[in-house]
């Protein structure tokens, strides 16, 4: 064991926060004790944003043994800060467990993981290219692997422990690893005007019994993890927030990290625990499934699926933030809240996309009127979207001409599908609505919001149709297809109008 105790995450700067318009890095202690001074955690990576909040929340829950009830949170909001002494005491008590490098208990790592067969540290992040990851944003290769600073490595470690998708591992007697706790779901993070408000908005009431974050339990050794020997039920709020999904040991090179020892982590056992940042929806068979992000659609299109109206469950953070907002408004305090939806889009072990979508959080979202409006609005949008999809197929059919379809996957059908998919109709429509939705959503509980939305739908469809006209060109076949399509298009817009009156 060569490395000494080094880089304590409580004191060393590694959490990027926005302060007075500039990004500075702070440790856990400063982030919590001076949270009101920072606008927010500021990182280009949505996954980092999520895990850094989760870590701070875990410390808060434990240090404050709560909040036991929403009144506690309101109290801290009014006072403009957390109780300082319990946080200081708690951090002092567990200070030894927050070293990034430590001979016995490195933070969220396994001290005796061998250095043989090390992996590049970039394996921790889905957005850095390595192995057979699809290259999302980066062209790092393993040959020219840059050295990570300690701060970078610490953040990457957190991201990996929370988001690593399951897949082949083949190390230390474990063939394949399971998903990390939030590898698939969309995470709901309501955010306020500063970091203090944001943390309070996500500090869902909590009972500290039967739960312990990773730094409150004895450090895991390779012997515990070999052959997936350690299995924990996936339950307990701070346990899940600090879940050791993989065995990792960052290898110190004196001024940074290039490689790490890597192996299995704790295997999660199914439990009824619900992560406060995760929402659920009801599937066709009546099962509750976690709400995920999807590659080809923006998240707002699934917004109503998690509402109680459709049998879903909104994220506890969202419900908590809504309640808090209501209380604050009653007291005349301003609580302007935005909602961030964070997460990755994955296909089995491959991460396809990383998302951060930002929406205003209207104060009356969880009222029956707002739910009804939202449901109606999304239904209208989907129906018109379906109509436009069908229209694109009809236009394509008219351009290609009717022909014998043949059997199965005929070249004719393929040509048809290709042409229909190349038309900008559906894509532009949804794209325009991506821009319009936040405006509607901010006013969702108002009577006039549906009219506003209907106008947005009409505008989006018209723009998309105009672009399709320009796209398709002016050959006779194309003019014919467009002339026929225009009829259908007029009918679609007409249907939109009718729903208003009912």
């Amino acid at each position: 064991m060569g490395s000494l105790e080094k880089f304590n995450l409580i004191d060393e700067p590694w959490i990027p926060v926005l302060k007075g318009g500039r990004v500075v890095e702070v440790g856990i202690g400063e982030a919590l004790l001076r949270a009101h001074e920072f606008a927010r955690i500021e990182t280009p990576s949505p996954l980092e944003e999520a895990v850094l909040h989760r870590l701070l929340l875990a410390v808060l829950h434990r240090a404050l043994s709560g909040p036991r009830c929403p009144e506690d949170v309101l109290d801290w909001w009014r006072k403009g800060g957390f109780p300082q002494d319990p946080i200081r005491d708690y951090l002092n008590r567990f200070r030894d467990r927050f070293f990034l490098f430590h001979p016995e208990a490195p933070f969220l790592q396994v001290a005796d993981l061998p250095e043989e067969n090390p992996l590049p540290w970039s394996k921790l992040l889905p957005e850095l290219a390595s192995g057979n990851n699809p290259t999302l944003f980066d062209h790092t290769t393993e040959e020219n692997l840059p050295k990570a600073t300690y701060a970078q490595a610490a953040r990457a470690l957190l991201v990996h422990q929370a988001f690593a998708p399951g897949g082949l591992l083949r190390r230390y007697g474990v063939g394949s690893a399971k998903d990390a706790p939030v590898a698939r779901p969309a995470l709901f993070l309501p955010t306020g005007q500063n970091l203090l408000e944001t943390l309070l908005l996500n500090l869902v009431p909590y009972t500290p019994e039967d739960d312990a974050p990773i730094w409150e339990v004895p450090p895991l050794r390779l012997g515990d993890l070999e052959g997936a020997r350690t299995k924990w039920p996936l339950t307990g709020r701070t346990r899940v927030y600090t879940w050791p999904a993989r065995g990792v040991r960052l290898l110190d090179e004196g001024d940074g990290v290039r490689f790490m020892g890597y192996g299995p982590g704790v295997e999660p056992l199914e439990a009824t625990h619900r992560d406060p940042m995760v929402a659920q929806r009801l599937d066709a068979k009546g099962n509750l499934l976690v709400l995920r992000l999807s590659e080809e659609r923006s998240f707002w299109r699934d917004f109503s699926a998690m509402l109680p109206r459709q049998g879903g469950k909104v994220a506890a953070t969202l419900e908590h933030a809504e309640n808090l907002q209501g209380e604050l408004e009653d007291e005349g305090l301003e609580g302007r809240i935005t909602l961030r939806v964070l997460g990755q889009v994955s296909d089995q072990a491959k991460v396809l996309d990383i998302r951060r979508e930002v929406y205003p959080l209207p104060s009356g979202l969880l009222t029956p009127k707002a739910e009804e409006n939202l449901e109606k609005a999304l239904k209208m949008a989907e129906e018109l979207g379906q109509g436009l999809k069908h229209l694109a197929q009809e236009v394509a059919k008219a351009v290609v001409g009717e022909r014998d379809r043949g059997h199965g996957r005929s070249p004719y059908l393929e040509e048809l599908t290709k042409l229909a998919n190349s038309l900008p109709l559906e894509r532009l429509y949804w794209h325009a609505l991506d821009g319009a939705f936040p405006r509607f959503f901010a006013r969702v509980e108002e009577e006039a919001s549906l009219d506003l939305w209907r106008e947005a739908l009409r505008g989006a469809a018209l723009e998309a149709w105009k672009a399709t006209r320009r796209f398709l060109g002016t050959g006779a076949r194309h003019l014919k297809a467009l002339a026929q399509g225009e009829q259908e298009f007029g009918r679609l817009l007409g249907e939109l109008g009718e729903e208003v009156r009912t």
Partner: protein, 169 residues
């Protein structure tokens, strides 16, 4: 008043004169020549064109419409566009639709021949003023005229069919 309507006035006045018989013969005969290239038709069109400043293809469009007007014996029906008349003629016939589509694609060399075919095909008169107005803008790169013709042709179809459905229901 559009250029088409002004020219139609001119043709109507010509039709009311004794000279019409000779003029009509000359116009019909001119269809065998490229538009504006048949000398005997010139006396009946040039005086009108002298009042304006026309480009070559616009001159040709006037000659062409005059010849088609003569072909239909001056049967001018306000509001009945060629596209609509063709759709009425077609009644689902694929060959008429094919000709209509060919007409939409016609370039400057083909337009006279295809228009003549199309006009000969339809029964009854058409709106010649609109026809001239459209021909004057036929070669604009945006092809708005052709797009409108397509709408008139296929649009007429759908609305008639819908009406039929309504009657049946």
């Amino acid at each position: 008043m559009s250029p088409g309507e002004r020219f139609l006035d001119w043709l109507k006045r010509l039709q009311g004169q004794k000279a019409w018989t000779a003029a009509r013969a000359a116009f019909r005969r001119s269809l065998a020549f490229p538009p504006g290239a048949y000398p005997r038709a010139m006396p009946y069109v040039e005086p009108f064109l002298a009042k304006g400043d026309w480009r070559q293809e616009e001159r040709e469009a006037h000659y062409l419409v005059a010849a088609l007007y003569a072909l239909k014996d001056g049967d001018h029906q306000v509001g009945r566009t060629l596209a609509r008349a063709l759709w009425e003629k077609a009644q689902g016939s694929a060959s008429v639709e094919k000709r209509f589509l060919a007409l939409l694609e016609a370039d400057r060399d083909q337009i006279a021949f295809r228009l003549r075919q199309a006009v000969a095909l339809v029964e009854g008169g058409i709106d010649f003023a609109r026809l001239l107005d459209d021909l004057l803008r036929w070669f604009s790169p945006e092809r708005h005229v052709q797009a409108r013709w397509a709408r008139e042709y296929y649009g007429a179809g759908a609305s008639e069919e819908e009406k039929k459905k309504e009657v049946e229901a």
